[in-house]
Amino acid sequence: MFMFEKAVVGGRRYWSWLGVLAAVIALGFASYLRQLDQGLAITGLSRDVTWGLYIAQFTFLVGVAASAVMVVLPYYLHNYKVFGKVTILGEFLAISAVTMCMLFILVDMGQPARVLNVILHPTPNSIMFWDMVSLSGYLVLNAVIALVTLTAERKGIAPPGWIKPVILISIPWAISIHTVTAFLYNGLPGRSFWLTALLAPRFLASAFSAGPALLILLCMILRRFTWFDVGREPIQKLALIVTYAMVVNVFFVLMELFTVFYSGIPEHQEHFKYLFVGLEGHGSLVPWMWTSVLLAVASLVLLLVPRFRHDEKILAVACVTVFLSLWIDKGIGLIVGGFVPSPLGAVTEYAPTLPEISIALGIWAVGFLMITVFYKITLSVREYLGA
């Protein structure tokens, strides 16, 4: 079944890595069992900050999933051959990221056993319904595409013709998953932090920066630890995409800041104040947010100067800074910042608890396990073909 036999053959390093991931997953699962028993009271969430780490990770990872389009689109729409070797890596990254998204939604549910009610009582006026549709659709699309193209590659034949339209559908679909995710937040009348039409474009820009940055790092890791080398050119092209997307993202953030602070509407300003200078003596996210800003500035310097970007060692550092900066921005600030202050003006701080963090790490480990196994299969197929 799907060449999984190739995933169970590997060296000591491969198995120890899988072992580490399995241990993190087991720890997360144990914490989740505790959450199932005691309820979401084991998290740091409260009546004012009702979504936190889980939903923020979900939001960030939808972006990572959507970013596969940045390799799929040039390769399939523009026949850009340079991405031939990385396209399937992007698709597998998307599959793993969407799976993590779904797990993060599941662990956030108060009554996970009833989650099928979303399908049993379909409610098209709820954006969450459409999020479910778009995410599961995207998962199926990418799974089919990856399976069919990799199978064809192994057999040394061209993929069947019908896969082309499926791939073409997956391109706007990728945009849709992150747009719908933004709609989850920016249609809420009482939450001024998210009530901006720029949210979806901002989501996409940050996604198209953080996602390809992760893909570059994964390619570099593959080169370091395996025989497989995607080559210099695709990495440089990806770096260019990261650069443009990061510039656009920072531009969007500045647009947001201008609108909020020049208009001077308190309700809109307070969330930014909480995040960047603290509000009513509460400012636990302030160091995080400024770290994100500094990393963003540093990444722009490293990316925009061609000499730095062309040096792969510096590029690796730039990709890490991009990824961390956007992870803090989206994976912490964007969700929590929307809840503080509350619609009644209360400033309640949020910090994830240890069990909550261990559940989140467990889900990340599931994602990395999937990526590892998928990449292992891909490389085994290519090794066999190359031999």
Partner: protein, 259 residues
């Protein structure tokens, strides 16, 4: 015997159908043929239930919490010490929190910092209903009450994020250990579901006024049908200047404050 032979045979037939075609179909047949469900004839009837709060009367005794006690007792609302995990259906907020658009620096003394009763506004365009992915919360077409179905709620808390009034509470843990006494005629909740005021739908259905209205000795809470031109609530909003919470959001709250 309440069941005649024909009914009996029909029901046994249903049992057979259940074995053959699954209990769901049988249930539908039984429902269609044998069960005639009706509202209680004593039920209060209204087309658009609404509430007027006379803040002057309410503020006569700032320490009074009869309405809150009555509501929370009858609905098994737990008393949770940790304010971050509180569950509340009706409570008091300082005026400037309930009405943040009003300049707190220059409020009349009679209002600044004074406690105002707040609860679900039973909005005409409720954002919580718009976002719920399972219809676990919905606006009743017959009388405008924004309802909750605790059997259906999956605990995603999207409604909590959507409500601009903080009227919704999530059960972070099992609420039962936090109940000092239990009203056996009303369910408690389980962990992982969202709850809120339902305008006492269970009391309206039996012809009773909401528990808070009944408990208020000052008659500061006036409940009635806003769609009825002759109703007391309609008269009060016609003859007086009233405030609603955040009307600029377009949610059309149905709780009016006489200032």
């Amino acid at each position: 015997m309440s069941i005649d032979r024909k009914t009996f045979l029909r029901i046994t037939g249903c049992g057979l159908a259940a074995a053959l075609a699954g209990s769901k179909i049988a249930g539908l047949i039984a429902e269609a043929q044998d069960e005639l469900t009706t509202p209680d004839p004593a039920a209060l009837k209204g087309r658009r239930w609404a509430m007027v709060i006379d803040t002057k009367k309410c503020l006569k005794d700032e320490g009074c919490d009869k309405c809150i006690q009555a509501c929370h007792r009858v609905h098994n609302v737990p008393e949770i010490a940790d304010a971050r995990r509180e569950v509340k259906w009706i409570w008091k907020e300082p005026f400037e929190h309930a009405f943040p658009a009003h300049d707190p620096e220059h409020l009349p003394e009679a209002l600044a910092g004074r406690p105002v009763l707040v609860f679900c506004n039973h909005c005409d365009a409720p954002p919580c209903v718009r976002v719920c992915p399972t219809k676990a919360t919905w606006k009743r077409a017959s009388d405008g009450v924004v309802m909750m179905d605790w059997h259906r709620c999956i605990g995603c808390r999207y409604c909590v994020a959507a409500c601009p009034y903080g009227s919704r509470s999530f059960n972070w843990s099992d609420p039962r250990p936090h109940l000092v006494q239990i009203n056996g005629a009303y369910p408690t909740r389980t962990k992982g579901v969202v709850e809120k005021c339902t305008f006492c739908d269970e009391r309206l259905a039996r012809g009773q006024l909401p528990a808070c209205v009944e408990a208020c000795t000052e008659k500061a809470l006036i409940f009635g049908d806003l769609a009825d031109p002759g109703s007391e609530v309609r008269r009060l909003v016609r003859e007086n200047f009233t405030l609603r919470r955040k009307p600029e959001l377009g949610t059309a709250p149905q709780v009016f404050y006489l200032i």
